[in-house]
Symmetry: C2
Subunit: 119 residues, 2 copies
DNA sequence: CATTGACCTGGAGCGCACTCCAGGTGGAAT
DNA sequence: ATTCCACCTGGAGTGCGCTCCAGGTCAATG
């Protein structure tokens, strides 16, 4: 079990088949193997990479930046520093997002309490 | 200081003038006063409402749902229950968003550590 | 009196991230 | 043998939330 059809991959990665095709087309996925019939065959490595992409997407990284990260990931060790910098910058943005959500969530909860107190 | 020009309102609310006009047009803002020249005049109440809208937007509520909330807010006390339900449902989504961000942030931080350990 | 600048309107345009579609292929099941 | 299904391609379309534009008004400033 280390090769996956597009359907299986969609299920495991949480991206739709259309999205997988789209990601390959724009260069987020490279060197996806094909079988004799021209169909995509995904490996465990592809799945791991998709897992990373999912993590970045769910934390709001724009596709343009994921593209930059993919380019770096295709490079060798000499891109480690830049990859770390990119991820650290993103990590700070995620931190900020969480802080905003927590602050605003307090407002919402206060508002709920306010309505409750009047009802 | 209880009347504000569109420019001041944009500055205080964090929405652009274009967005304020758009929000009025689609019905998120109602009964915005005008001066003799036909220009918008915002009140402290408008600002408070914009603050609420900002809170909902920053926590990812879609405009369609904010519209629903505005309708309820234009209603009287008899809509309190529904408003609370809407806000509570949203609160749960915000909770979920925060959880996702925190989980994924751990992955990012792990990845940073991983690259660091190889460098 | 001319210019400037903030604002007005209706409507078009944009950026992002998909998502859908038409038309076709190739292998497996009935 | 034919039906079915998952998949293929290039390209068009979608939904969201603004953002920009042309052309105009009005009050204040130099």
């Amino acid at each position: 079990m280390s090769f996956y059809s597009p359907g299986e991959t969609a299920e495991k990665s949480g991206f739709s088949i259309d999205t997988l095709r789209y990601y390959e087309k724009i260069g987020l996925l490279s060197d996806i193997a094909r079988n004799a019939a021209g169909r995509r065959v995904f490996t465990d490595d592809d799945l791991a990479w998709l897992h990373m992409l999912r993590c970045l997407r769910e934390t709001g990284m724009p596709i343009a930046e994921m593209l930059r990260f993919s380019e770096l990931a295709r490079g060798g060790e000499e891109t480690f520093k830049e990859r770390v910098e990119l991820l650290e910058a993103h990590d700070r943005r995620v931190e900020e997002q969480i802080a905003v959500l927590q602050t605003q969530q307090k407002h919402i909860q206060w508002k709920i309490g306010f309505y409750r107190s009047l009802a």
